[in-house]
């Protein structure tokens, strides 16, 4: 039994490390061409989904045009838009990763995850509609101007994601340190206190090593377990400020809920969601402008909103899976007060670090994707 629990925890840690690895390889891609054969065989399904969503996308223009004369085509258009949204959201973007990481880091419920997913997709659709309505309908802006607007909104969105991730990383990093020290509390009275709070140092490390952060975190968590806390030696994060441990952390039986989620949980969740949702989907922008050119702007708005609904369905499903996995790990952790809790805190820190990494990657991706508007400047 104990062995299977340990296994589960190892799997969760492995997930974080694997993801960190994926991010690292993405980061270093410009310096070494990733080999196409890196695609595993399990990606056949994903390949199929991408082919489908491309086909749906290309059929949208025909349905939009047909809906001018034909009421049935209108319903078909909405159906295709929904399917496109569902399939499309499996692909990159749409805040799946950020929302899921956020849920994992914050011990959110699946209900909250579903609501946040729908809010995020809703914001995304509305932003696309608002940009096109203001820029194209009211101002008659060119494609170049609209492209620039979208890019500006993107940068703001990514920067907000990074900020939210950093904040979460700081909070969770402290939680981890407290859990870590709690574990070694009694035997380590004589520990030499470090001058600077370790949590701050950790954030600094995450900033410097950017994408390598999550991996480094997980590895350090491992170090801490091995030689830091258990062996009561001066481990990396096992020093640090000792001034909180007695209050919020009884005897590592569980986190104080208010310290983690707190009353402002909803508000913070919405902030994270809004940051992610801010970035409009360029596919939606093109569909809207195409509809506008056919004098069918409202049809385009309808299709965009339904697309958002489809996107939300996929994101919500993935977010629910993330919450489920976390709940599982949490149940396992509860059975082993000390290390279980430490591992949970490590997972949270890892998830928070991932949000930062996602934000950085998104920003870097923006830098690399200036070609997006190669034909329109």
């Amino acid at each position: 039994m104990t062995r299977s629990r340990t296994l589960s925890l190892i799997v969760m840690a492995g997930l974080i490390i694997a993801c960190a690895g994926a991010l690292t390889s993405a980061w270093s891609a410009p310096f070494g061409a990733p080999h196409p054969s890196a695609v595993t065989s399990s990606s056949g399904l994903i390949g199929w989904i991408f082919a489908e969503q491309a086909a749906f996308y290309r059929s949208l223009s025909g349905y939009i045009r047909a809906s001018k004369q034909d009421g049935v085509a209108m319903w078909e258009l909405l159906g295709i838009s929904f399917l496109y949204g569902v399939f499309h959201a499996v692909g990159p973007g749409h805040g799946k990763a950020v929302i899921s990481s956020y849920l994992v880091a914050n011990e959110e419920t699946w209900r909250r995850g579903v609501v946040l997913s729908f809010v995020s997709a809703g914001i995304q659709s509305v932003v696309a509609v608002v940009i096109v309505a203001i820029a194209a309908v009211l101002l008659g802006a060119t494609a170049k101007a609209i492209g620039l607007t979208v890019h500006l909104v993107e940068i703001v969105s990514y920067a907000l994601v990074i900020l939210i991730g950093l904040r979460l990383f700081y909070v969770k990093g402290r939680g981890f340190l407290l859990a870590c020290r709690e574990l070694s509390w009694r035997p380590t009275h004589e520990l030499v206190f470090a001058a600077a709070p370790a949590a701050m140092r950790l954030s600094a490390v995450a900033l410097q090593s950017s994408v390598r952060g999550p991996g480094a975190m997980a590895i350090r968590a491992g170090e801490c377990q091995e030689d830091g806390c258990e062996a009561h030696v001066h481990g990396f994060q096992c020093d640090g400020n000792h001034d909180h441990h007695a209050s919020a952390w009884g005897h590592a039986h569980g986190p104080e809920p208010t310290a983690l989620a707190g009353a402002g949980g909803w508000r913070r969740g919405l902030a994270a969601t809004a940051a992610v949702g801010l970035r409009p989907c360029s596919g939606a922008i093109i569909v809207l402008i195409f509809a506008l050119a056919q004098d069918l702007f409202w049809t385009g708005v309808g299709a965009t909103l339904i697309m958002g609904l489809g996107t939300a369905a996929t994101v919500a499903a993935i977010a629910t899976a993330a919450v489920g996995a976390r709940g599982l790990a949490s149940r396992v952790a509860k059975t082993r007060a000390g290390f279980g809790m430490l591992a949970m805190r490590a997972i949270e820190v890892g998830a928070a670090a991932l949000i930062v990494a996602f934000g950085l990657l998104l920003l870097a991706g923006y830098m690399a994707s200036e070609q997006l508007w190669m034909f329109t400047g």
Partner: protein, 213 residues
């Protein structure tokens, strides 16, 4: 069992692409290419006509106000055409040619303009060779190495020769349909971008072959 399922779900979720933008490609182009020859039988350049997909066409001409609604003249679209060819320079006009195994170089485009044939925008431009070349075997590839743009031969008349010696004949090779593994790779291009020097898109290249024995 349930445990295992949710674990693998989480795994899938974390390993899924995380980044912005959409799956590739974003723009679809149907093209016709005409190879140009001088009177002495040397090749002088290539004249392209690229037809954009209807949605991208609508997007590109957004904000261009023609004198008559829906009727875009060459003059209306001249600034956009200028922008197009200037932007395309960075991408070598997606045109890569080899004559008898040697790389052929192009000058900047001439005679470029945009034509609007509802619902599509067509970009016409001529790429002159830096120096006219007498080539026995010409291979020209049209593709986007980053697969942002999907190029496809026009169905009716994909390739033609203009003023070529009588013994020359042109054929073309269609790119293969991407396999599921390749599709998946395409889907991840936004997350795991290609190396700037990568020619991954070459496996989807449209090849034109001209033999002048």
């Amino acid at each position: 069992m349930i445990k295992r399922t949710s674990c693998s779900c989480a795994m899938l979720l974390l390993l899924l692409p995380v980044c912005g933008a959409e799956a590739h490609p974003h723009v679809w182009v149907t093209f016709h290419s005409e190879l140009l020859y001088a009177a002495d039988g040397t090749m002088t350049g290539v004249r392209h006509a690229w037809t954009f997909d209807d949605m991208f066409s609508a997007y590109a001409i957004q904000g261009t106000s023609p004198a008559k609604k829906g009727q875009y003249t060459r003059e209306d679209l001249a600034p956009l055409a200028q922008l197009n060819v200037e932007s395309l320079k960075e991408y070598d006009y997606f045109t890569y040619a080899r004559g008898d195994g040697k790389k052929l170089k192009f000058n900047e485009p001439v005679d470029y303009w945009l034509e609007y044939k509802n619902p599509s925008l067509i970009l016409h431009f001529t790429l002159p060779l830096k120096a006219p070349a007498a080539v026995k075997a010409l291979q020209m590839e049209i593709y986007d190495p980053s697969i942002f743009v999907d190029f496809e031969f026009a169905k009716d008349k994909p390739v033609s020769l203009n003023g070529a010696p009588a013994q020359c004949s042109a054929t073309y090779d269609l790119p293969h349909q991407p396999t599921t593994a390749e599709q998946a790779r395409l889907g991840q291009l936004d997350v795991v971008p290609l190396d700037p020097t990568s020619t991954y898109g070459e496996i989807f290249a449209n090849k034109i072959l001209v033999k002048c024995p």
